[in-house]
């Protein structure tokens, strides 16, 4: 009897999932993921004997979804997924992983180009009702895993590499505060935006594309511009990010305590 199983590498996610979705068979939160490489029927023991390449990053990349996609097409939708915005270093890792699988000779692997998305529900689907709800879901990747498909949108992990969360909420008596991690000031800015959007996803529409941050001061000033614009337009629960600059320098990353006036 073959010990082959339906395997794939995935990015496991922590996200500010909407409380309700409009229709379909909704995947349980723990089963929502981003497939990196689909291996098809493969022997897990053979694969696990090898040294699976690890990502070059310690901190889980953070991003957000930008639109709903209906698969295979809107007309014959059998699944709905959230297409994601830029994932930075994850794309390089996905390519490295795909190359490694090819080299290791997994014959069934899916060699189609990487299409970053998160499947959320399967049919029957009311496409129009999905289009009515906001598609922006902030998330970060908490781990890379080798998963086995158990059928009916259920999975179990066979191998897992955990990543540091890009942010974590910390106790603050009067307002809210986060520990923001990043390998540079741009990362801190991006992760701070995502952290805020976990509390208020509509903020995503006001995210800044600015990438040039020579100092933490410029990060804070840019975050406050985002907040001011959003507050002016739609009213948001945050009023300002303070200039509190308590920062810890670790071997490969920075950690900043961000205090947000609410």
């Amino acid at each position: 009897m073959s010990n082959e199983k339906r395997l794939f590498f995935s990015a496991e996610l922590t996200a500010a999932w909407p409380q309700n979705f409009p229709s379909g068979r909704i995947l349980e939160e723990e089963n929502r993921h981003m497939t990196l490489v689909f291996l098809g029927s493969t022997s897990p023991s053979t694969l696990l004997e090898k040294t699976i390449p690890l990502p070059s990053f310690d901190i889980g990349p953070a991003s957000y979804s930008t639109k709903w996609i209906f698969l295979p097409s809107e007309k014959e939708a059998r699944a709905v997924a959230a297409e994601t915005a830029s994932l930075g270093p994850l794309l390089d890792y996905q390519q490295a992983l795909a190359q490694w699988i090819k080299t290791e000779g997994c014959p069934s692997h899916d060699a189609r180009p990487f299409f970053p998305h998160i499947t959320l529900a399967r049919g029957p689907l009311d496409v129009e009702s999905w289009k009515q709800i906001p598609c922006e879901i902030p998330f970060y990747i908490r781990s890379i895993a080798l998963m086995e498909s158990l059928g009916h949108s259920r999975y179990q992990h066979l191998w897992r590499h955990c990543l540091l969360p890009p942010f974590a909420e910390i106790e603050h008596t009067a307002d809210i505060a986060f520990l923001i991690r990043g390998s540079n000031f741009y990362d801190l800015f991006l992760h701070a935006q995502i952290a805020l959007s976990f509390k208020f996803p509509a903020l995503i529409a006001y995210f800044s594309k600015e990438k040039n941050f020579p100092s933490l001061d410029t990060v804070i000033a840019a975050l406050n511009e985002v907040i001011a614009r959003a507050d002016l337009d739609i009213g948001i629960p945050f009023k300002a990010v303070s200039y509190h600059d308590e920062m810890a320098y670790h071997l490969n990353h920075l950690e900043w305590k961000m205090i947000v006036d609410v």
Partner: protein, 305 residues
């Protein structure tokens, strides 16, 4: 761990060390100190003690907890000549405050149906919550100018308050020195529809009864009686104040006023400098706007009571 020396009942001194210019003073019982998450606010007491021109002590009151540059519950006095003024040390909500207004009716005489109507009426007339404002009638530039020129009198003239209210407001609702030209257009945009609104966070309108009088003579002088209906209002300068504070912080950081300070949120300019005086002009605008909030809360009071 901070070094605290008991010097009187419920009073501890924090030893002056490093770049602290004065010692710290913590007003708290041992029980409170044990119950508090104390390290962050004590660090902030220490940081405040490093500000140029601070006199006496950097003080933390018994409600102290982690704040912005100062701890919440932090107090510091500055020498008017050599001291500094910090736009964001204590936070962003400039002149945020609580006002108690009395209604000439016993609370028990308000039938429950009337209380319910009152609440619904105020709720419909006073926008509250995140981002809520009077979108249909934003303040114009001329309104802002008049508001700054006249203070709370402007609200009274508009029918949003009573003339006698002015006698019960600090400086009759008129603080000198405000200059609208020192305020950014973004701040004005953020504040233009928020006059007479509550906002979010810990801001509220509460109606209740005076239950117990602790200082009878003072209460009598103020016309406060047991059982009387009160309206308690807590609001602030909302987006207008936040943006003014943010603009000043950004400006001061760029000017290098934070150099040498243990926390950049404490960024401060010498009181006597042109930049220090500009804070008074900007914050004076917020003070005037804030005075309108609890004094008038247009148009809730005339329309509701």
């Amino acid at each position: 761990m901070s070094k605290l020396k008991p010097i009187a009942p419920a009073t501890y001194e924090m030893t002056q060390e490093g770049s602290m210019k004065v010692p710290g003073l913590i007003i708290a019982t041992p029980k409170l100190l044990q119950a508090m998450d104390i390290e962050e606010p004590l660090n902030q007491v220490r940081n405040v003690a490093c500000l140029p021109g601070i006199v006496g002590y950097s003080i933390a009151m018994p409600d102290m907890h982690w704040g912005y540059g100062f701890p919440i519950g932090g107090v510091a006095g500055m020498d008017a000549k050599t001291g500094v003024i910090s736009p964001g040390g204590v936070g962003y909500d400039i002149n945020c405050g609580v006002r108690l207004a009395l209604a000439p009716i016993k609370f028990k005489d308000l039938q429950s149906s009337v209380r319910e109507m009152l609440i619904h009426r105020i709720f419909s007339l006073v926008p509250s919550g995140v981002g809520k404002g009077h979108k249909q009638k934003p303040l114009t530039e001329k309104d802002f100018q008049n508001l700054l020129l006249k203070g709370a009198k402007w609200s009274v003239e508009k029918g949003y308050g009573f003339a006698r209210d002015l006698d019960h407001i600090e400086s009759s609702g008129m603080i000198e020195g405000a200059d609208l030209s020192a305020v950014s257009s973004l701040a004005k945009d953020r504040g233009k529809d928020q006059l007479g609104t509550i906002g979010s966070g810990n801001h509220f309108v509460e109606i209740g009864a005076i239950e117990k009088i602790f200082l009878p003579k003072t209460a009598e002088a103020w016309g406060i009686e047991e059982g009387q209906t009160y309206v308690l209002i807590h609001s602030g300068s909302r987006g207008f104040g936040h943006q003014i504070c943010q603009d000043t912080l950004d400006e001061f950081i760029k000017l290098g006023f934070a150099e040498g300070l243990p926390d950049r949120q404490l960024v401060a300019a010498p009181i006597q400098s042109a930049h220090g005086q500009k804070i008074f002009q900007r914050d004076g605008c917020c003070c005037k706007l804030c005075i309108q909030q609890p004094a008038a809360d247009p148009p809730s009071r005339p329309a509701s009571f």
